[in-house]
């Protein structure tokens, strides 16, 4: 399994005390499998994504990525696991504005120490970014920026791709195109994909759906 959640609980503290967000979530994600995480706002979707990426620690339970239990790792260990096994695609693209498109795409692969130029060129070609490589992100449209973010994520050959509403900022036509390209490339690389989405249409294109309600799997 690429990702395993086992009875994961998580609470946040606010002025009125502890607010439970996840109340014991368990699920698995196999290699090459795609999973849509759906549910109302505040149901805990993003929290699952943050815990799966190691950006947040669970309150209790176990989270394993490629068999490694995240709860045994400190911040540096989780960061190392994120570099080597996980990639993230955000709604806001989160490109580095001061780096060119080319430098942005190879960035995570360089961090992980495994830049594969041929693989990058293949991704660039597939995403139609060949003419944009020397530009800076500010010169690109939203759809192009999200393509760069996808290329950056897949260039590092992650085993787990986590996407947080990756087409939420794009118009319908562009969103469709970007999603097509992403799913095709994920299938080619064999990575597992977990995507947070509000769109039933997008969720329907995933292998499985996990709907959350009040911190539990509905």
């Amino acid at each position: 399994m690429v990702l395993e959640f086992e009875s994961v609980q998580k609470s946040f503290r606010d002025s009125e005390g502890d607010v439970p967000v996840l109340r014991g979530i368990s699920f698995e994600l196999a290699e090459g499998e795609t999973l849509a995480l759906t549910g109302e706002s505040g149901s805990g979707k993003s929290t699952i994504l943050h815990i799966a990426s190691g950006l947040e620690a669970p309150g209790s339970g176990a989270v394993r990525v490629s068999g490694i239990d995240m709860t045994d790792l400190d911040d540096s260990g989780r960061a190392a696991l994120r570099r080597s096994e996980i990639a993230l695609v955000f709604q806001q693209f989160n490109l580095i504005p001061s780096l060119t498109v080319a430098a942005n795409i190879s960035f995570q692969a360089a961090l992980a120490g495994r830049v594969d130029e041929a693989h990058i060129q293949q991704l660039v070609g597939a995403l139609g970014l060949a003419d944009q490589m020397k530009k800076y992100p500010e010169a690109l449209s939203g759809g192009q920026q999200q393509r760069v973010a996808i290329a950056r994520a897949l260039a590092a050959r992650p085993k787990l791709l986590l996407a947080d509403e990756p087409t939420g900022n794009l118009d319908e036509g562009t969103a469709e195109d970007v999603l097509d390209e992403m799913l095709k490339l994920v299938a080619q690389t064999g990575a597992a994909l977990m995507m947070v989405t509000h769109s039933p249409k997008i969720a329907a294109r995933m292998d499985r759906q996990l709907t959350l309600k009040n911190g539990l799997v509905a």
């Binding site: 911040d75 540096s76 080597s84 993230l88 989160n94």
Partner: protein, 792 residues
């Protein structure tokens, strides 16, 4: 990973060169002004140390003539024969070089030893025509003598065997005798062997380093102020750079870079940049110091008689302190940002936030801190004493006022917003309020610079007015004549009594009064004193009291240092104590002075005769000619009153050249701070301006409003700077000057100067805002439209 991450961090500066320039230039300017001032101070102190170690100045007790400035050789021989272990010194000037002759055999080991060259004594008794000096002084001596170069010799001084120097000066007498530390203890009293000499203990001598301390402290305070203004730029640039890199830092973390690594890399990055900026600043500081050093040297020579080297050395003490301050300043600005990074929620929205938006709690905290500092300033003003307290008071006042500025500006802008009737102006005032957090650091820098300018120029101009008035009082006689001996003195007096309207013989001797070195004068009280001298405080008919031998006039320095005033008694000698009849201002003189009547002085020192005469006459040129012709007194011994006044004023003006230069530089740095803040904010302004543009304001109008905003904010700063500057002047005149120089000056106001300064501040703000405004006017519509497309 480290390299990739560092490359990403550094790419920010490559894409934002203006910000990089602002950071480096801010730090360079701050370090330049600080290290330049420190370089000057270090050079001066090294010169004082060299003088102390090579000439023994301030280290040994001295025997000095009670009258005049020469000792006959026979007196020295008599003292040695009677058992006094003394060593002769002759001191004189040859052109602009001070020649000091010592006796290598009898001089204290420390002095001769410090001049040894590679283990060999540099001075050999009677060695023909050889002097020792540093390279610079050697150049000035030319072919006059063979010169051995020794870098440790004080600047402007050449030392040689006493016989050699006597020959060069054409004299056969001595200037002083150094009393060696280990006296046999059986020698007769000085009064028996050499009644014409007096003993001056080394700890009573006015140490030049001590005398000039206040001058250097003033320079340091100015350097620190400039540094603070520069640091405002650094702080604001670092804040902006972090704000703009929030997204990048979040992305780096989400891509697997550990927090600790990011913190370490950012720290290394910023400190490396700080090192580069500080390095540039040190080079710039060296140039500033080299430029200002001649004026400082002239000031120190004029005010204190201190010689300092005209060339600048790269001394670790100043460049290291500049570097350390720059790094510390950067680290301080960095630490709060690093703390923010550590607490930053990772996957929250990374939309660009209006940078450093002040929350009401931040404003509240800042205002509380400001009030606390202003309260502390009030307490220090009421109860504090001493120079350090004076500067602490200045610090509290300036920082407290600077921190209050955003709150004051907020209220003023709200006032205008509430009264604006058109939507355009309503938006303008509201938008200006919104800019306050981003501009407040630059505004504070401008406030500090302008108020420092007002404060210092008020002090200098008040000083100038007082000083000119003081010269008119003191230099009432049209001619001053110096005599060589008692016989010449008597002849001159007899001659002048027939031909002048008022004759003022000046009797004087060096002594110790109220535990301090002081000059005691005997004055013939006449109409000149009565009509011209203005006292700071006096008993009724003070000159009558002095003339009758029932009181003394003391100068302000002595009165303040000894904590005496009118009505108190002052002990002149062990047998004579007099009430203080008047306290008189005495500017530009570090020493205490006491004035008695001529008769009383004569009773105390019957062997002394007037060596200097002030003469009132209606035809000074004719009288001068007559004296030279009739009495064979050289023309060079007669000084014209106008010449002395001109010289004194020239010394005064040069004294404040450094201050004026630092004033201008500080204002320049503040103008630069505004420019950098506006430039770096310009990009963040687009989302705020695009909607107004879309609603119908042209880019040209927006640019013009940006210019107007800068000028209005500068005007607001200027209005706040006036009371602050005047408070600063008050502290300088009534606290710092009294502690530093021993005198208090009246404060005058110079509205025309302030208005001129205000116009400069507005011009600086206008110029600083021109570039960003022009950029805004030329922003392509597509860039503004992107704001609505959410593609920025």
């Amino acid at each position: 990973m480290t390299l990739t991450c560092l490359r990403a961090l550094l790419s920010h500066w490559r894409r934002n060169p203006v910000q990089l320039f602002a950071f480096l230039a801010g730090l360079a300017l701050a370090t330049a002004l600080w290290s330049g001032v420190q370089a000057i101070n270090a050079e001066a102190r090294a010169s004082y140390d060299a003088a102390a170690s090579t000439l023994g100045e301030g280290q040994y007790d001295l025997l000095l003539p009670r009258q005049g400035d020469r000792i006959a050789q026979e007196v020295y021989v008599a003292l040695r024969r009677s058992g006094w272990l003394v060593s002769p010194v002759i001191d004189g000037r040859l052109g602009d070089v001070r020649l000091v002759g010592i006796d290598p055999v009898t001089s204290p080991g420390g002095i001769a030893g410090s001049m040894s060259n590679e283990g060999q004594p540099a001075l050999v008794f009677g060695q023909a025509n050889r002097l020792i000096a540093n390279a610079q002084t050697a150049g000035r001596l030319g072919d006059l003598a063979e010169v051995t170069i020794n870098a440790d010799i004080a600047p402007g001084v050449a030392i040689g065997d006493i016989g050699v120097v006597q020959n060069l000066l054409g004299r056969d007498d001595l200037t002083r005798l150094m009393v060696l530390p280990d006296q046999p203890g059986l020698q007769p009293d000085l009064g028996e062997v050499a009644p014409q000499l007096r003993l001056q203990l080394s700890d009573q001598m006015a140490d030049v380093a001590q005398l000039t301390d206040s001058f250097h402290l003033n320079l340091t305070a100015f350097g620190l102020l400039s540094f603070a203004v520069g640091l405002f730029i650094v702080h604001s640039t670092i804040g902006l750079a972090f704000e703009q890199r929030r997204g990048m830092i979040r992305t780096l973390r989400s891509l697997g870079v550990p927090l600790r690594r990011i913190v370490v890399l950012i720290t290394i990055e910023m400190l490396t940049l700080a090192l580069i900026g500080a390095g540039l600043g040190i080079v710039l500081g060296y140039l500033i110091a080299a430029l200002l050093l001649p004026d400082v040297a002239a000031t120190l020579r004029g005010l204190y008689g201190a010689q300092i080297s005209g060339t600048l050395e790269l001394r670790p003490v100043w460049w290291a302190s500049g570097l350390a301050l720059a790094l510390l300043g950067t680290a301080a600005a960095l630490s709060s940002r690093i703390w923010q990074i550590a607490r930053m929620p990772l996957l929250a929205s990374v939309r660009p936030r209006a940078w450093v938006m002040a929350t009401s709690s931040r404003f509240r905290l800042q205002t509380i801190a400001a009030l606390a500092l202003l309260g502390m300033a009030g307490v220090l003003a009421l109860v504090g004493e001493g120079l350090v307290v004076g500067f602490a008071l200045l610090g509290c006042l300036l920082i407290g006022a600077a921190l209050t500025l955003p709150a004051v500006a907020e209220r003023v802008l709200t006032f205008f917003q509430d009264r604006s009737t058109t939507p355009r102006w309503s938006w303008f005032w509201a938008d200006t309020r919104q800019q306050l957090p981003g501009l407040s650091l630059a505004m504070m820098a401008l406030l500090l610079a302008v108020s420092a300018n007002i404060g210092v120029s008020t002090m200098v101009s008040s000083f100038r007015l007082t000083f000119v008035g003081f010269l008119d009082q003191r230099l009432a006689p049209e001619l001053f004549i110096q005599v060589e001996n008692a016989e010449e003195s008597a002849r001159l007096e007899a001659y002048l009594l027939q031909s002048t309207t008022d004759l003022l013989p000046l009797l004087s001797t060096q002594t110790e009064i109220a535990g301090q070195p002081a000059r005691l004068f005997g004055a013939r009280v006449g109409p000149t004193y009565r009509e011209n001298w203005v006292f700071l405080d006096a008993v009724p008919k003070a000159w009558d009291v002095v003339e009758g031998g029932r009181g003394a006039v003391v100068n302000e320095q002595l009165a303040r240092r000894a904590d005496l005033w009118i009505g108190d008694n002052i002990q002149i000698t062990s047998d004579l104590t007099l009430p203080i009849a008047a306290v008189v201002g005495d500017y530009g003189n570090p020493q205490g002075q006491v004035i008695l009547s001529e008769a009383l002085f004569g009773n105390l020192h019957p062997d002394l005769y007037p060596t200097r005469f002030g003469v009132r006459t209606e035809d000074p040129a004719q009288l001068r000619q007559d004296i030279v012709a009739a009495l064979d007194i050289p023309d060079s011994a007669i000084t014209n009153q106008a010449a002395i006044k001109a010289l004194s004023l020239e010394i005064f003006e040069r004294t404040f050249t450094v201050t004026s230069a630092l004033n201008v530089l500080t204002l320049g740095v503040a103008g630069f701070a505004i420019l950098m803040s506006l430039l770096t904010l310009a990009d963040l302004r687009l989302p705020q301006l695009a909607p107004v543009w879309a609603l119908g304001l042209t880019r040209r109008s927006l640019g013009q409003l940006e210019l107007l905003r800068a000028v209005i904010l500068a005007a607001l700063v200027f209005v706040c700077a006036i009371p602050l500057g005047l408070a600063l002047a008050w502290v300088l005149l009534t606290i710092v000057n009294v502690e530093a120089f021993g005198w208090q000056l009246p404060m005058f106001l110079f509205p025309a100067e302030y208005i001129q300064l205000g116009l400069y501040a507005l011009l600086a703000a206008f110029l600083a805002a021109s570039w960003p405004a022009l950029r805004l006017m030329r922003t392509p519509p597509s860039a503004l439209l992107k704001v609505f497309a959410n593609e920025r």
